[in-house]
């Protein structure tokens, strides 16, 4: 693995140690070690099928690792699952929302799941709906929402209980430019308030623009980690765009083959 120079690391809010996931004879994730500090936006990049979503799902507690550890806010996910999960907000790539609930009902239910209760819930729900520009949809059934609106609603839910760590799987899918800008701004604000964000994405421009550090995963292994500048240096092309760097690190563009086939 290519790793940029050792730096003094603050205590990580999200950490994985030698995470492995095997499906029969196939190893989807092979010894992934990651750490995301408070206030850091950490990009998690890799080609399709590299193991990003599997890793994210293991950190979210949706998939049992074959071996390795996940720590969230200092809590071991295997030993203290409730404490670890209470510190986490999770935004999946294909979110499930109860279609027959209204946006407000869904958020109130979600708040209850995370132990947020009492008189302040209503205000917090409205606050989040306003932040994600869904206020006028509070009493509408989720089934009438577009994909982008559902995505924003899931983000409302993820930030509702003020988690110190947030996991995001492909945040920009289905969002219009206005929605995408809004999300970027929210993530930046949250990070500036100390929230650790681990974000898997295919949109390299987003990663380049937003992430403090980036880990690149290929065939289940982390092959490179560092800031955008450090990754450029690793690829040996300090001036290149992240796309070029990504393609070089993950095994070439395949453009030659395209030419041959076309």
């Amino acid at each position: 693995m290519l790793v940029a120079g050792v730096r003094e690391a603050p205590t990580p809010v999200i950490a994985t140690q030698d995470l492995v996931k095997r499906y029969g004879g196939f190893t989807a994730v092979d010894g992934v070690t990651l750490d995301v500090a408070a206030g850091e936006i950490h990009g998690f990049l890799g080609p399709n099928g590299a193991g990003k979503t599997t890793t994210i799902r293991m950190i979210a507690g949706l998939l049992k690792p074959t071996s390795g550890r996940v720590l969230v806010n200092g809590h071991d996910l295997a030993r203290e699952p409730e404490r670890a999960k209470a510190s986490l907000g999770f935004i999946p790539d294909r979110p499930f929302i109860y279609e027959k609930l209204t946006a407000g009902e869904f958020l109130r239910f979600h708040a209850g799941l995370y132990g947020v209760d009492g008189t302040g819930v209503g205000d917090r729900v409205r606050e989040m709906l306003e932040l994600f520009e869904l206020t006028k949809w509070e009493h509408e059934l989720v089934e009438s929402f577009s994909h982008g609106m559902k995505q924003r609603l899931v983000m409302c839910a993820a930030f509702l209980h003020r988690p110190p760590a947030v996991l995001v799987d492909e945040p920009m899918v289905g969002l219009d430019p206005r929605g995408a800008r809004l999300i970027k701004e929210v993530f930046r604000r949250m990070a500036s308030r100390g929230v650790a964000i681990l974000m898997s994405t295919h949109t390299l421009e987003v990663a380049q623009e937003m992430c403090d550090r980036i880990s690149i995963i290929l065939k289940g292994r982390i092959i490179a980690r560092g800031t955008v500048a450090e990754l450029r240096a690793m690829a040996g092309h300090p001036e290149d765009q992240l796309t070029t760097v990504f393609l070089k690190l993950t095994g070439g563009s395949g453009l030659q083959e395209i030419d041959e086939i076309v």
Binding site: Y23, R57, A60, G61, L62, L63, K64, P81, E82, R83, A84, K85, A86, L88, F90, P92, F96, I97, Y98, E99, K100, L101, T102, E105, F106, F109, H110, G112, L113, Y114, G115, D117, L141
Partner: protein, 560 residues
């Protein structure tokens, strides 16, 4: 977090409330139809239970013995049903349900999640038994002038009686999912369900319940019930439930068996809860694995499809539809079950001893030919609503592929029609011809019925295809959901009306013809004209339904 487990049931409750508040089109029709059928069935169960319990009261000790054994037998049947239903429901609620991804990512203690999911499994698996038992026990209680405590004890008995098999079913599911991937386990369960249903049908035929209807077979009844007794019977919860209720019916108390029910239920809850904490997460992780595709080497299908003179697009639509059907166990297992029921139906015709009625035999046989035709029509309508009506909706979110492909909607829908028509026509023709042959009906009626079935198949499949396209549900999870939608109900109503009209239009001229022929009276010209007009009207109605159905569907899909 401090929320108790019922909190996790809130989304289902809120969703039901929202659904009730925001009525969709067809809700009223659906409620009236299903509500009416449910009330009629409940009344029938109540009346039957009341009548049997009332009649048995005349036989003093023998009557009591039969009632006691009957209760035990009834609960034994429910026990097996609940155990199986528990396995199937637990698989869905504990492992495959979409909201698990949300709930498992939340800081919910696993025992609370277990209790919430178990409550859901219990309700889903046992509501049918409770709905069936309520009028039944009411009927027995009222017929025997049971004290009020009987009804209270009935509730106290049914709750643990339902918990026990559902808990065992949940435990079996936990084991299954940890051994097989969950999605493969679902296939295995579907097949198990098929064998379960088939074995019940075979058992019923083996017992031959019709024997019990004869007065002279009274000793057979006691023999029949005594065969159901075995040394392990007193160890089964069904026996405990039967004994508790029977004692209460007599005005007594049987706390021993009631206590056995409750302690077993609670012990199983604790045991299964512990097993859940230990194995659920591993099983759920297993459930994320993709299953391998079946029938990937269906060269025979490809070869057959290439021999059929079809356009390239239609050929590939056919191949796709057949492959999708074969890979969905829930689809073909239901079709196999239906075939099993049809075989039992035919077998009943074989054992039907109409010749015992010397003078009426011929007439009854010919009347049965029309009953049979109506039955075939209703079977066709049921198969069509389950398998043909959802054909367009089955394209689901992938319908854009058809929309953007250079395939006309007309071609697409006709392809769906032919794919539905061929198996349905074959099934109903075999059913009608075989049943008429077994009955020995008049050859003229055999021909009329065989021809009528062809017309009815075209009409019903056309109507199902067309209405399925007119009222598609692209977001539905499964075909049953589509069949139960407004369009599906509307189709069933129209289909039943159509079958009745055709039976009347075919039945009247046929009976007139046979009447004249049996009495050797020549048919005059006006009678001949009436008979021809009636047959022609039946054919015309069928063609009109077929054509209108398809046209409605094509127009609806062509609308931008």
């Amino acid at each position: 977090m401090a929320q108790p487990f019922p909190y996790l049931l809130l989304p289902s409750i809120w969703a039901s409330r929202n659904r009730a508040q925001r009525r969709e089109r067809g809700d009223l029709l659906r409620a009236v139809m299903f509500g009416g059928i449910a009330i009629a069935v409940a009344c029938a169960i109540f009346a039957a239970a009341f009548w049997i319990a009332w009649q048995l009261a005349d036989y003093a000790e023998l009557g009591d013995y039969l009632l006691r054994a009957g209760l035990s037998w009834l609960f034994l049947t429910f026990l097996s049903f609940l155990a199986f239903s528990g396995v199937v429901t637990a698989l869905s609620t504990f492992f495959l349900s979409d909201d698990l991804r949300l709930l498992l990512a939340a800081p919910v203690p696993s025992y609370r999640l277990f209790h919430a999911r178990f409550a859901r499994t219990l309700v889903h698996a046992s509501w049918m038994v409770v709905v069936f038992l309520t009028p039944l026990l009411l009927g027995i209680g009222l017929a025997r002038c049971a004290p009020l405590s009987f009804y209270a004890l009935a509730v106290l008995t049914i709750v643990p009686f339902s918990v026990i098999p559902v808990a065992l079913g949940t435990a079996a599911t936990l084991v299954l999912v940890n051994v097989f991937p969950a999605r493969r386990a679902r296939d295995i369960l579907m097949l198990m369900g098929l064998f379960f249903a088939a074995s019940i049908v075979i058992l019923l035929r083996y017992i031959r319940p019709e024997r019990l209807m004869h007065v002279e077979s009274l000793p057979d009844i006691t023999a029949f019930f005594s065969t159901l007794q075995s040394p392990i019977t007193p160890l089964l919860p069904s026996f405990w439930a039967g004994e508790t209720l029977f004692a209460s019916l007599q005005g007594g108390r049987d706390f021993l068996h009631l206590a056995a029910l409750w302690t077993t239920a609670l012990m199983l809850m604790v045991g299964v809860g512990a097993a859940y904490e230990r194995w659920h997460f591993a099983g759920f992780s297993n459930a994320q694995e993709a299953r391998k595709a079946r029938f990937t080497r269906l060269h025979v299908l490809d070869r057959v499809a290439h021999r059929i003179p079809l356009s390239i697009a239609r050929r590939h639509l056919l191949i796709k539809d057949v492959k999708v059907f074969l890979r969905d166990v829930s689809q073909w297992s239901q079709l196999l079950l239906l075939l099993a029921l049809v075989l039992v139906y035919l077998y009943n015709f074989r054992v039907l001893d109409l010749d015992r009625i010397p003078y009426m035999g011929g007439v009854v046989k010919n009347v049965y030919a029309f009953v049979n035709l109506a039955m075939a029509g209703l079977v066709m309508a049921t198969v069509a609503v389950r398998f043909v009506f959802p054909a367009v909706s089955a394209e689901g979110q992938a319908f854009w592929i058809i929309r953007t492909a250079p395939v006309s909607i007309r071609e697409f829908l006709w392809s769906k029609f032919w794919i539905g028509l061929v198996p349905i026509l074959a099934l109903s023709e075999v059913l009608t011809v075989a049943a008429n042959e077994l009955l020995g009906v008049d050859p003229f009626l055999e021909i009329v019925a065989a021809v009528a079935i062809v017309f009815m198949s075209f009409a019903l499949v056309g109507l199902a295809t067309g209405l399925g396209a007119r009222y598609p549900r692209f977001t539905a999870d499964n075909a049953s959901q589509v069949a139960g939608s407004f369009g599906g109900i509307a189709f069933m109503v129209m289909a039943v009306l159509f079958v009745l009209v055709v039976i009347a239009l075919v039945g009247w001229p046929s009976s007139v013809y046979l009447f004249y022929r049996v009495r050797h009276i020549p048919l005059d010209a006006s009678r001949q004209a009436q008979i021809t007009a009636s047959f022609a009207a039946a054919a015309l109605v069928s063609v009109a339904i077929w054509w209108l159905g398809m046209r409605t569907g094509i127009r609806a899909l062509q609308e931008p």
